[in-house]
């Protein structure tokens, strides 16, 4: 196979990637967007349905106010302007999983306009990805094609489930930014508790608008829309492939073959394919939905939603780095999940040793959650107990290794006990009595005269061997700091 232009890093490097993402987030409302049918996931096919979902003649949509509130929350989180007079629109197209033959969405008056999502860069620092709009719409049903069957089956449980579509500006310049943007969006919807953010299950879906241009150019070239990417990694792969495809066309003089079209990503081969032009040239014939009166969001309602906003990941990140003095890395790990961040905040109510608290959460606590595949809600040890454990380490009653390797595992089994109780019961309280320690150290020094000679000859590292012996004799309870001091004193004497 002959080499493609994009195989040459120099050629690749001439170009700039221009990507905008459209993210669909399925909202966690109890009922559907325009009917009172349940949205519960995993029910038997065609059980969450009614005459409204099935678009029987004579039915009318009914607005679910929760959908509006969830959309407002996302807008507030992105710093968008909230549209006060919301007109619904119909997007018309025929497909068996679309019962009405149109989708109720928003066209000219999206509920949120403008705003931005701040992502953290790999090399440190931040970048703002501008948001064009966020609008409300409804999901379609699911068509199923069973092997060996000529007929397709349709499950309408998902039809009418509310979605918001978050449309970014074409501000994304590489695949890491795409990944970080999606991570940030997922974090936001999870913090806001408006979507479970699960891309594999389809509750978060992403389409990418992709084009390339020579570095330094300012105008946008023809963009291609790529659909059907069901993981963050696949979004990256699709962008990677599509960018190379476009560069190769330009480099071989076939730029005109880059047309505004919709392509689908096939994850098994890692390529994008043109969808039938018929579909991509669909004229959706948008017009204002005459069955729903415009929804007006007044100041009172907006304030009510504002006051129900939880702390956002960015606010917590700034709190952790600026007020608690944590590193950006620690703060990032702690805010990756809302529940962990809140757990950490709870810890910080009982201690000011923020760094140690962060180490406990990012270390032992997270490791346990991973190992047990627990959600933090299932984690048995209360934040106050972790603080108590930190305190007996700080006061020298137990060593850190006893605390983390011995007491912590027992606390998981007996979370009602205090760390001190466990330490006492197991005789793990540290020997910090220097008289007793001195006695033991002298014994150890006497037992190894030749090692003492080596030490004195300059082989200072041998102190580790003496420490080991002290620990053996005290069953690990010797305070390492004090033991080290005493040992050095004796050996230097």
């Amino acid at each position: 196979m002959s080499k493609l232009p994009s195989d040459n890093p120099e050629i690749l490097n001439k170009y700039e990637i221009v990507v905008g993402l459209e993210v669909h987030a399925q909202l966690l409302t109890q009922s559907k967007a325009y009917s009172s049918d349940s949205t519960e996931y995993g029910n038997l096919p065609n059980t969450n349905i009614s005459v409204i979902t099935l678009a029987h003649p004579g039915t009318l949509p009914k607005v679910n106010k929760k959908v509006i509130e969830y959309a407002i929350k996302m807008g507030l989180a992105c710093g968008s302007e909230i549209t006060r007079h919301n007109i619904y629109a119909r997007k018309n197209y025929f497909y068996p999983d679309l019962p009405k033959g149109y989708q109720i969405t928003q066209d000219k008056t999206p509920i949120c306009v403008g705003g931005e999502v701040i992502i953290r860069q790999k090399e440190g620092g931040e970048k703002k990805i501008a948001i064009t709009r966020i609008h409300m719409e409804e999901d379609a049903g699911k068509s199923m094609h069973l092997a060996g069957e000529t007929d397709s089956l349709i499950d309408f449980n998902r039809a009418g489930v509310p979605l918001i579509e978050i449309v970014s500006q074409p501000d994304i310049r590489n695949i890491d930014e795409a990944y970080n943007y999606l991570t940030e969006i997922r974090k936001l919807v999870r913090y806001l508790d408006i979507c479970d953010g699960n891309m594999e299950e389809g509750s978060l879906r992403c389409d990418a608008n992709i084009s390339v241009r020579l570095k330094g150019e300012t105008k946008l070239n023809t963009r291609v829309e790529v659909k059907n990417m069901n993981s963050f990694r696949n979004v990256q792969r699709a962008i990677e492939y599509e960018v190379k495809r476009q560069i190769d066309l330009i480099e071989t003089g076939k730029q005109q073959e880059i047309i505004q079209e919709t392509r689908t990503f096939d994850a098994t081969v890692g390529k994008t394919y043109s969808m039938r032009t018929k579909e991509s040239l669909n004229d959706y014939r948008y017009f204002p939905e005459p069955d729903l009166t415009p929804v007006v969001i007044d100041e009172e309602w907006l304030q009510k939603v504002k006051s129900s906003m939880p702390a956002l990941p960015r606010e917590l990140f700034l709190l952790f780095t600026e007020k608690y003095g944590l590193s950006a890395y620690d703060a990032e790990v702690l805010t990756a999940s809302k529940e962990i961040a809140l757990y950490f905040q709870e810890l910080c109510k009982h201690t000011q040793n923020y760094k140690a608290a962060a180490n406990w959460v990012t270390g032992e606590v997270k490791a346990t959650l991973n190992k047990m595949t627990w959600h933090i809600n299932q984690f048995p040890i209360k934040p106050a107990t972790i603080v108590a454990l930190m305190q007996i380490v700080e006061s020298g009653k137990v060593s850190h290794s006893i605390a983390s390797q011995s007491i912590f595992p027992l606390l998981l089994e007996q979370p009602e006990k205090t760390p001190l109780q466990i330490a006492e019961e197991n005789n793990w309280l540290q020997e910090s009595d220097s008289n007793l320690l001195e006695q033991i150290i002298e014994e150890v020094i006497k037992a190894y005269p030749e090692k003492v000679a080596e030490y004195k000859a300059g082989k200072k590292g041998i102190i580790g061997m003496f420490m080991g012996e002290v620990m053996k004799k005290t069953k690990g309870k010797a305070d390492p700091k004090i033991s080290n001091q005493l040992l050095t004193q004796k050996l230097e004497a």
Binding site: H56, P57, L60, N92, K100, R285, F287
Partner: protein, 454 residues
């Protein structure tokens, strides 16, 4: 007469003249059973407001567990799983539903000739149309087949057949009555309307079915007055008539004369009657046809053969062919014409030239209609340019057919209430209707004045 006797009489009348084809189906046994129950209630003194009213429903109004198909093949075999809000309210007040009534397919037409169940005949002259689209509903009241019919009026579909059949036909303010359970033609125009032989019955039914409904977000929450209790006119009124309507080219001389006589009568009674200009009249039909077909093209997309109703029995290669065959077989030619027109005016390249422009014109028509009501209580005009025409007369000329709605669409474009009342006959003995329009939610004054005029 007991309810049972009345239902029996109506069933007899329906069966005696099957050629009228007003009813697609009569719920004979059910209506008789219900009549017996309501007779018992009346005897016990706990019957509802509409006890003894025998009512027919146009085949676009849902009645749970009863067939419903908008006189279209595309809904063959369809049974409604719920009742319209209006149906529930009628039943709650002890009305008896006697059957479903013939109409133009999906309420599109002015002669009832577009029904998959065949033409219906005007009882005044069986060689003539009853008007449409609610033709069967008008005949049913005209020919003594029931007390009241509920129809739907998107551009005149209650008032025009009421005029042709010599009965009362009311189209209330848009949003006065819930549309939940009304098969949609053009959602921003559709109104459930009422046919009756007198104003009092119509007023009583309106007060039962009108008002707020959680199932329809577009319905008004304005309180519903007791219309039937306030049917007398106590003051002198100001009435406008539109120059462009009485000077309209195709206006039948006897109808013009009827309007003029009415004007004279009103003046004699001390009311103020004045001519006003309404130069926008010529834009009303184009605006109506652009906007209603646009909405219809979307509203009728759900009839796709996937979930219910007709699906082609022929073989099909793919989904698209299934859609095409199903919809070509299921929809009649007028419905297809309107779907195509609506799809066209909404398409990206023509949207601004047609849809946007028509929306703007709709606003202008609303505003200038509103302006007239700053100075006048009512607008008086003919309901139709002619009396009932012959069956088949306009079949070749769609535009001529569309002109039958010239005077009725204004009320739908503006959303105001309007009523047609019978006022004599022409030289051939065919009924003439005159029309009154009033300001938004002034059904009380409109009904009272119509009552006085009758």
């Amino acid at each position: 007469m007991t309810c049972q006797e009345k239902v029996k009489k109506y069933i007899q009348n329906i069966k005696a003249k099957p050629q009228l084809n007003a009813f697609l189906e009569i719920y004979e046994e059910e209506a008789l059973q219900r009549a017996a129950q309501i007779d018992a209630k009346i005897a016990a003194g706990n019957a509802g407001k509409l006890a003894g009213f025998v009512i027919g429903l146009k085949d676009v109004i849902c009645y749970q567990n009863h067939p419903l198909q908008a006189s279209s093949k595309i809904l063959n075999g369809f049974v409604s799983q719920f009742s319209a809000t209006v149906t529930e309210r009628l039943l709650a007040e002890d009305a008896i539903i006697i059957g479903r009534q013939n109409c133009d397919e999906f309420a599109m037409g002015s002669s009832n000739e577009n029904s998959a169940f065949g033409i219906a005949r005007n009882a005044a002259d069986e060689s003539r149309v009853p008007g449409g689209s609610s033709g069967g509903s008008a005949i049913a009241v005209q020919a003594d087949l029931c007390d009241i019919s509920l129809g739907s009026d998107t551009g005149g579909s209650v008032r025009q057949p009421a005029a042709f059949c010599g009965v009362v036909g009311l189209k209330p303010t848009y949003s006065r009555i819930s549309r939940f359970g009304l098969i949609a033609y053009a959602s921003s125009f559709d109104c459930i309307g009422i046919f009756g032989r007198n104003i009092k019955d119509v007023a009583l039914v309106l007060e039962v079915i009108a008002g707020k409904d959680d199932q329809d977000s577009t319905v008004s929450s304005q309180p519903v007055p007791a219309y039937s209790q306030q049917l007398s006119v106590t003051s002198k009124k100001r009435i406008a008539y539109l120059k462009e309507t009485i000077e309209s080219e195709g206006l039948q001389p006897e109808i013009l004369a009827t309007v003029k006589n009415t004007i004279e009568q009103l003046k004699k009674d001390g009311h103020t009657v004045e001519q006003v200009d309404f130069p926008l009249l010529k834009y009303i039909l184009p605006v109506y046809y652009i906007l209603t077909t646009a909405e219809a093209s979307s509203n009728l997309a759900r009839y796709d053969g996937v979930r219910y109703g007709h699906r082609t029995k022929e073989d099909f290669e793919d989904l698209e062919e299934m859609y095409k065959k199903t919809r070509s077989e299921g929809f009649g030619s007028e419905v297809q014409r309107r779907i195509m027109l609506g799809t066209f005016v909404l398409s990206a390249s023509y949207y601004d030239a047609y849809y946007t422009k028509a929306q703007k014109m709709r606003r202008l028509i609303k505003e200038s209609t509103d302006k007239i009501f700053e100075n006048y209580d009512f607008i008086l005009l003919p309901t139709t340019p002619t009396t009932a025409f012959k069956i088949g007369e306009h079949q070749k000329d769609v535009l001529q057919m569309y002109l039958a709605d010239l005077f009725t669409v204004q009320a739908n474009v503006a959303g105001i209430p309007a009523i047609s009342i019978p006022k004599g006959t022409d030289e051939q003995g065919l009924p003439i209707g005159i029309q009154l329009m009033a300001q938004y939610f002034k059904e009380d004054e409109l009904l009272a004045f119509a009552n006085y005029l009758m």
